[in-house]
């Protein structure tokens, strides 16, 4: 097993601090406490969506989930339509959305394990199916309401002006740590990611672990959609699309190897923070769209050069 030479989580955190300092130098007001909380809130959405992506990428076998964006949208739309009335209704809607996300993810996992479809195209195909489902369910009419519970969670603060959603994200971080490092599932996931044959020979039921991983990814994407709804209070047919590939980028920036078997959610959280800071900084600098995209792409490349490199053939 290959270990990164430098701790990627540390690099990503240092980078986030550097970006924040750069932002406050270049743009007055960027370094304020309120702005910092706002960036944390935006990073939480990407971070929650990228939680499932982290599990999927650790599971190896070219694992990647490109259906998360579509599932984010579907989750938000389901809660928006069903979550009317009391808090009880909102919770029921949330449960339904999470259940649908879980089923979509499980379908991805079954296609990958049973039918041997490569994860990249399986989840891509599933994204198309989910977009179709959204159109069939809504028929283009996006009516509903945002449950107060979710809106309050995102915009309200519990203490020190920290938005509730950031606390939810922190709790998720703790749960993910427990899941990865303190449960049999976590141990099996790393084993499956490192080497499927060895894992199978040591008695791990590889297909079950893979299906469970994609199912979790679908559920977490639906959760991300519901929470995102609390922020936008409105749904669009492509609400979640901007989260698909950045969720992969956040995982990689956080030091999880695309080859599988090595990684952490703490890294992904730091990666989500870096990407969100970068986007916010580029927006605050008021650059034209073309320059913003070029700088974003070049920064990603620079990050990859730090620790996203594969071993040289000579080594």
């Amino acid at each position: 097993m290959k270990r990164p030479r430098v701790d990627p989580v540390l690099i990503a955190l240092l980078l986030a601090a550097g970006l924040f300092a750069l932002g406050s130098l270049l743009q007055p007001g960027f370094g304020s406490y309120d702005q910092a909380m706002n960036i944390l809130r935006l990073a939480a959405f990407l971070g929650i969506v990228a939680a499932g992506q982290t599990l999927v990428i650790i599971s190896g076998g070219e694992g990647i989930d490109l259906s998360v964006g579509a599932v984010v949208t579907l989750g938000a739309i389901l809660v928006f339509r069903l979550g009317t009335g009391e808090a009880g209704g909102a919770l029921l809607a949330l449960a339904i959305a999470l259940g649908v996300g879980l089923l979509i993810g499980a379908a991805n996992g079954l296609g990958i394990t049973l039918l041997k479809i490569p994860p990249l195209v399986m989840t891509l195909g599933m994204a198309g199916v989910v977009q179709g489902l959204i159109l069939v369910v809504t028929r283009g009419e996006l009516r509903g309401e945002t449950p107060d519970l979710l809106a309050g969670l995102v915009s309200g603060s519990l203490a020190f002006g920290i938005p509730g959603v950031v606390l939810v994200w922190a709790a998720l971080g703790l749960l993910m740590w427990l899941l990865l490092w303190r449960t049999p599932y976590g141990r099996q996931l790393f084993a499956v990611g490192a080497n499927r044959t060895t894992a199978r020979l040591s008695g791990v039921r590889v297909p079950a672990v893979v299906v469970a991983t994609y199912a979790l990814s679908g559920m977490l994407a639906a959760l991300g959609g519901a929470i995102l709804l609390g922020y936008t209070r409105q749904v669009f047919l492509n609400l979640g699309d901007p989260y698909t590939l950045p969720s992969v980028a956040a995982v990689v920036v956080g030091g999880t190897l695309l080859a599988g078997g090595v990684g952490s959610y703490a890294g992904t959280m730091a990666g989500a923070l870096v990407l969100t800071l970068l986007t916010s900084l580029l927006t605050a600098l008021d650059l034209p769209e073309s320059a913003r995209q070029i700088v974003y792409g070049l920064t990603l490349l620079a990050l990859l050069s730090l620790y996203g490199r594969q071993r040289a053939l000579r080594e």
């Binding site: 296609g111 990249l120 792409g297 490349l301 990859l304 050069s305």
Partner: protein, 329 residues
């Protein structure tokens, strides 16, 4: 080998069919063409068929380039952005009523930009050893940013002479047919060279290829350059078919190009497959789409049905494999 010889002739035939990477795409193609014929009796009319096929040309060129990268063990998520970049460079360099020299210059600049963009990808993947998926995702931002810089919003025009050349049908067959033949000829030529052998070896197992003296890094670099050039050609085809430039036109095609490659029987793990299967995959994708739009399905259902068809097409080889394995004791 011995197991195959021991099978009865019919079993051997099925083994051979299963081994042929594009066999499943061929089956899908026949089924899709038959369904189209049933829905639109004038489907095989050359004019209708030609019109249908013309719309596939940009994706066909893009997916052919993607195939080369995938066989070499990589993947390119920036091909759509390269398509857009070449598209806007060609259209803005054409300007108003260009002469022959200016047309050549514009097309040359677009193709050069595509090959250079591919070289950037290839250098990052082959020499800096970045992971292909994230690298090309990152460079796709750079290329679309450049496309937006060249042309911030759709516009420009293509001279009428070029447009009518694009609609020409030499020997009564549409241009897209000749383009496909040319792509296949070029691919056949490439495959028969030493480079072709190296490409498959590199994609199959980089380390063993390296140990047996294959220049792995130059081979990978070249595969991305070829893909960039094909994306630029797709950008040219797109300019000729839409008669304008658009900095965002290519992005949705990236992922379709990968789906076409997989339906065509090339595995994403590399070292296997070919461009012929990919071309079948592109045509199958297009025919499925026209089936759904001609079936009179309510429009809200079309996206779902299209998505399900793609998943079933992707699942096909795996399903056959499951059935096949089920028959063995």
């Amino acid at each position: 080998m011995r197991a195959a010889q021991a099978l009865p002739p019919r079993g051997r035939l099925r083994e051979a069919a299963l081994r042929q990477s594009y066999a499943f795409a061929l089956v899908l193609l026949v089924a899709a063409a038959a369904a189209n014929y049933a829905l639109q009796p004038n489907f095989f009319n050359p004019a209708v068929l030609g019109g249908n096929l013309m719309t596939y040309l940009p994706l066909l060129l893009l997916a052919a380039g993607q195939t080369v990268v995938v066989i070499g063990g990589g993947i390119d998520l920036s091909l759509g952005a390269i398509l857009s970049l070449s598209n806007v460079i060609i259209v803005s360099a054409l300007g108003e009523s260009p002469g022959a020299a200016q047309i050549l210059l514009a097309v040359g600049a677009g193709l050069l930009a595509g090959a250079l963009a591919g070289a950037v990808n290839g250098a990052c993947v082959a020499y800096l050893r970045f992971q292909p998926i994230v690298t090309t995702f990152a460079t796709s931002f750079v290329f679309s940013g450049l496309a937006l810089y060249v042309m911030p919003s759709p516009g420009g025009s293509v001279p009428q002479g070029l447009l009518s050349a694009y609609g020409a049908d030499p020997l009564g067959l549409p241009l897209v047919f000749w383009a496909a033949v040319l792509v296949l000829l070029a691919w056949g030529l490439l495959r028969s060279t030493r480079y072709g052998v190296y490409l498959y070896a590199t994609g199959g197992d980089q380390l063993s290829a390296f140990v047996s003296g294959v220049p792995v890094s130059p081979v990978r670099l070249a595969s991305y350059c070829i893909a960039g050039l094909m994306a630029a050609l797709a950008g040219l085809a797109m300019a000729l078919s839409t008669s304008t430039g658009d900095p965002l036109i290519g992005e949705p095609l990236t992922l379709s190009s990968i789906v076409a490659v997989v339906i065509g029987g090339t595995r994403l793990s590399g070292g296997q497959g070919g461009v012929f299967g990919t071309i079948l995959g592109v045509v199958v994708l297009g025919l499925f789409q026209s089936i759904v739009s001609f079936m009179g399905v309510p429009s809200w259902w079309q996206t779902l049905i299209n998505g399900l068809i793609v998943v079933v097409a992707l699942a096909g080889p795996g399903l056959l494999g499951l059935l096949h394995r089920g028959r063995r004791p």
